[in-house]
Symmetry: C2
Subunit: 394 residues, 2 copies
């Protein structure tokens, strides 16, 4: 085991290599993202989400027969139990959607006969169910909160297209389905990001995969993580038009505030996924006859980067949330579903990581994550406090 | 910031001091546990859970007026919304109880008007609600799964006694209430254990306190963490009688297996809480006229320690789960509620840590936890894999 010397106190584990993984590689300096050996650029326009989910779970790209079998499994597992729909109908219509999803995960666990089975086969069955059901639970909730009855999944549609169908009540055309599919491929996996780390941390206690995934959903709901794509769109709405972009950039930097979608904890380049999403955002804007959000994003990127360089003497880069915001908006996804859509994709990476946490092979077995803390509670100086009974306390 | 040199790869962050905290100190070598300046031994038989929860949240033991106010707040917040009861009634009666609790946390969030308020005042209000409602949701579920209607909380009873009342349908006597109260005091806080760390990890993304607590519940559900007290009782049931203890110890060690309740990641002594719990287990056994489980535990401790020393040449110690198992059992708590009862107590520590994660004062601001991983995916040797279209894959 190697030794690392780094400042670790109150640094959020930043830069600390805590575990090995076979799942993905984020090469921050080179701007490369690799899923199980494959560059994201090679996967993004050539594979479906189902192929990528298979790759993440089974460590290889499927051949035609394997893909057919996996798609059939996913399709068969899309439905959610009617009792879960009934439970969702008790929920306040203004609930935060990520909170609905965080409840939804254990609600699904209650119906899964595999939760007490600690075998790898059971974990893969549960992972497949979670991947299959995430779109259904989110689409069902969006319809319930709008006073509509949830739609049954369509067995004739692929994973991404079926989500759009269940959400909107109408089958998407080929290009809409394909764009959603590419978004799911792009967001599927990103190594030890905060939500994945939360899932692994929970899994390390040998809690089951639903318990771990619910933790990941909670982590993704934070504005410093998955909530960022929603914040980008709120920012674009607040700016309102292309001619106000420059003033906005200056105003943010003057006030010491950041611009959502610029900057990333890991990359020292533009996020490779942003370069794939930007032309998709442009094309989708053209399709719906409103390229304003794309144009604002483009100018915001240019101005934000230049102004940051001028003020700080260093570069700042676009992250994955930057262009996904305008793209999802053009696709008619409600803003508060942006982060849940992220989850529909990332569930594939989360489950792969949970399975790796349970069953990592050759490497030294990972242990329950149990860090130490430094106690600085100087309540009674360096000593312990002398206890006073209730009656004697001032 | 100091530097640490330690092996960190695949060691579960063990021994790594990652953050400072004012909440508690676990002195593993000395066998001391300190909550905000106070030794656990000083708190255990002199304070109520309400006082300890106040101490954890507000950094001081309350005086009589403060305690009265806090108790009134807790009492006022005990009820859970009828819609949550309705949702619980949709659940399969054989669901794992910790999974019910993990769903219960976001279900409660949906009704809390403070979830989008990021102020410390809102966090403390939500923490108080969570502490108040945990007993109610667990007791309600136990009644629902047994075909009974949940009971309204009793405003005349203290926190611990009210839980026993809601669970059993009858007010506990003074000693039962006091014993439950002491158990809640003992389990309230234990620094950066796996569930607390999960809560802090989620909170570091600025997700709200319910999202963080749901992650902690998931982590606690694992058998390597909170699930251990249930495993101790299952082990005692499996052994069945005092005369079979020695054979069991030898059989476990011969097979290279461990004895649940012996050994702890942090202490190099007996857990100080075990020494408080052991006589309580004895006394409760005498009260209910069945000291078998206590006697088995006592002999198991003695034999297990001696045999471990003989075989491994080193000492092993009892942890907090060891005597809580027989105590809870004697108190008539169903075995699968042992871990949920742990959560009823630990929610006070979790919420204190989430608030510290959000608002830590003088120390360098903690950041989103985002560790790195080492990619060992050698799928195509040291290079990336060449992409093959679906039709060409073998």
């Amino acid at each position: 085991m190697e030794e690392e010397c780094r400042p670790v106190l109150n640094t959020g584990l930043r830069g600390l290599v805590i575990a090995d993984t076979r799942i993905s590689d984020v090469q921050g300096a080179a701007g490369k993202l690799i899923y199980r050996g494959y560059l994201i650029q090679d996967l993004a326009n050539t594979t479906s989400f189902e192929e990528v989910a298979y790759l993440l779970l089974f460590e290889k790209l499927p051949n035609a027969a394997e893909l057919k079998g996996f798609k059939e499994q996913l399709t068969a597992e899309r439905d959610i139990p009617p009792e879960v729909i009934t439970a969702l109908k008790t929920r306040p219509k203004d609930a935060v959607v990520m909170d609905i999803l965080q409840a939804g995960v254990p609600l699904l666990a209650h119906h899964d006969p595999d939760v007490t089975d600690q075998s790898m086969e059971a974990a893969i069955r549960m992972a497949t169910r979670l991947i299959a059901k995430f779109p259904t639970i989110i689409a069902a909730w969006d319809r319930i909160r709008n006073g509509k009855e949830p739609l049954k999944p369509s067995p004739n549609l692929d994973h991404a297209a079926n989500f759009l169908y269940m959400l909107k009540g109408k089958e998407p055309d080929e290009e809409d389905g394909r764009f959603m599919d590419t978004c799911l491929v792009l967001h599927a996996e990103h190594s030890f990001n905060a939500s994945t780390f939360a899932a692994r941390e929970v899994a390390s206690t040998r809690a089951h995969i639903y318990a771990a995934v619910a933790a990941a959903v909670g982590s993704l709901s934070g504005e410093l993580h998955g909530g960022a794509n929603m914040r980008v769109m709120e920012m674009l709405s607040e700016i309102g038009s292309v001619d106000k972009v420059e003033a906005y950039v200056n105003q943010q930097f003057d006030a010491g505030r950041k611009i959502f979608g610029l900057g990333h904890a890991v990359y020292d380049t533009d996020d490779p996924r942003a370069h794939i999403l930007a032309p998709m955002s442009k094309r989708m804007g053209e399709r719906v006859g409103d390229t304003r959000w794309y144009e604002m994003s483009q100018l915001l990127e240019k101005t934000g980067k230049a102004e940051f360089k001028k003020r700080k003497g260093k570069d700042i880069y676009v992250n994955v949330d930057f262009y996904s915001a305008s793209l999802y908006y053009a696709m008619g996804i409600p803003i508060d579903l942006f982060t849940p859509v992220f989850a529909i994709s990332r569930i594939s990476g989360w489950t792969a990581h949970v399975i790796e946490e349970y069953f990592a092979g050759a490497a030294p077995k990972p242990m329950l994550y149990r860090p130490e803390s430094e106690y600085i509670g100087d309540y009674c100086g360096p000593d312990v406090c002398e206890f006073e009974p209730l009656q004697e306390r001032g």
